[in-house]
Amino acid sequence: MWVALGIAAWALGWALNVWLAGRARSRATALAVPVIFGLTIVFVWEAAVRGFGISPVLLPAPSAIAVKMAASGGLIWEDFVQTVIKGALSGYVIGCAAAFATAIVVDRFDFLRRGLLPVGNFVAALPIIGIAPILVMWFGFDWQSKAAVVVVMVFFPMLVNTVEGLRDTSSMQRDLMRTYAAGYWTTLLKLRLPAAMPFIFNGLKLATTLALIGAIVAEFFGSPIRGMGFRISTSVGLLALDLVWAEIVVAAIAGSAFYGGVALLERAVTFWHPSQRGHG
């Protein structure tokens, strides 16, 4: 019964999307198609769990997850504050600010740029998450160590992107600034920083995901008795998978909101860039 319903829902959702995608592309269809796809998947999930009688210990149904989220709101909120606000957000701000300041200095001295960029690129490709246990040892179990992990994780992608961005002006533009008798700081503020903004926001967006991952994974190596990573690892041990999934949903929403917020800010700041125009 549920299996048939699930298959029917999948077919219906897909057919609806095929029909919508065949129509002229507009804002409404661009929004509706992925939403319908997502809803279909959630429904098929629910139907599969009920139809095949999958044990909630393995995979809880979406409805069970929603119930759990509503029931333990206070607990989840406490974890959210500990991990996202205290750990990820403070680390994100410190790390991005430090990387930005370093990038300005690196850009000033060509020798540093040629030396630091290859090293930065190399470090950015490394499994940085591995320093989590070391930093937890240095800064203790509370949120400071999580913020430190986040700082290190976001630093290098941000640094590399900002340095790239600061080089993104043509010599023609710089010459124009010179004919205006603009000094280094004026050129930096009026020309090169604005021109670097698309790159800087690219780094900021990359860093949002890294920040959440860093804060959560760092909690696996030791944390006080709250926090999303702590809750996930202990609930898995207790086989309370509905709580785990509730935390994951919260993490996903927080991650998407974080990313979306930075993307909105980007649209406001870099409204002049070709990639942001033409959406009317």
Binding site: V33, V119, I134, T209, L212, I232, V244
Partner: protein, 286 residues
Amino acid sequence: MRHVLPVLTVVAVIVAIWYAAAVWLNAQWALDMAKRQDREMSASELVLDTWSQEKPKLPAPHQVATELWKTTVEKKVTSKRSLVYHAWVTLSATLLGFALGTALGFALAVGIVYMRVMDMSVMPWVIASQTIPILAIAPMIIVVLNAVGVSGLLPKAMISMYLSFFPVVVGMVKGLRAPSRMMLDQMRTWNATKGQEFLRLRLPSSMPYLFASLKIAMAASLVGAIVGELPTGAVAGLGARLLAGSYYGQTIQIWSALFMAAAVAAFMVALIGLIQRVTLKRMGMS
């Protein structure tokens, strides 16, 4: 060559800062020990002590290097104490996940390029899937798959796969769409079928994008495998070494595992870079 001197300088500065930091972080412990034994320490004694402690807060570079040498060269590869053994455990999961992720990403990209429905419905979710801190789910995936009876490499590889398919999808979609209208029209005037258009035009022109994505995917895949090893209770692998080291305060072990992971990542990325250079050269694209 222009880069060699600056890079070496930066590396030298980092090493120097590291030694200084080791003195600063480990001095407290050394002073406490000296106080307990009721003896005075001269400055040079103190410095030497901070660089040779058993469980320092920050091991000096040469300690890590010695540990690396001991656990890679002097131990048998099959021994459980050999870092090569642990690196291989992690690398095998990484490679399996990387292969699965690349295949999945490739299939999705082809679907997205050729089917408008998939482009509109799947693509936004592919992007959204990466705003989820997927590593957070790692412990659950491992435990659940273990409960179903899947164990060993595959659960870790699943996490690697989830992390590595994304760059491949994004890169390949861009790459498969790289041919211009003009080129596509040219294929049509030759009466090329969809398959020929794909094999002769779209696939070759996507190669630079593919290799760029593969490098990112490999790095992401390794991170996935390492994190995937954490919840299995520190049995084997570089992630297990990290966890065990953090439980027992074996900082030197943590750092050497970290450097091993870095070396593996650098080696694999360099390997892909080499394949890229050879392939693109033979295709006449570089």
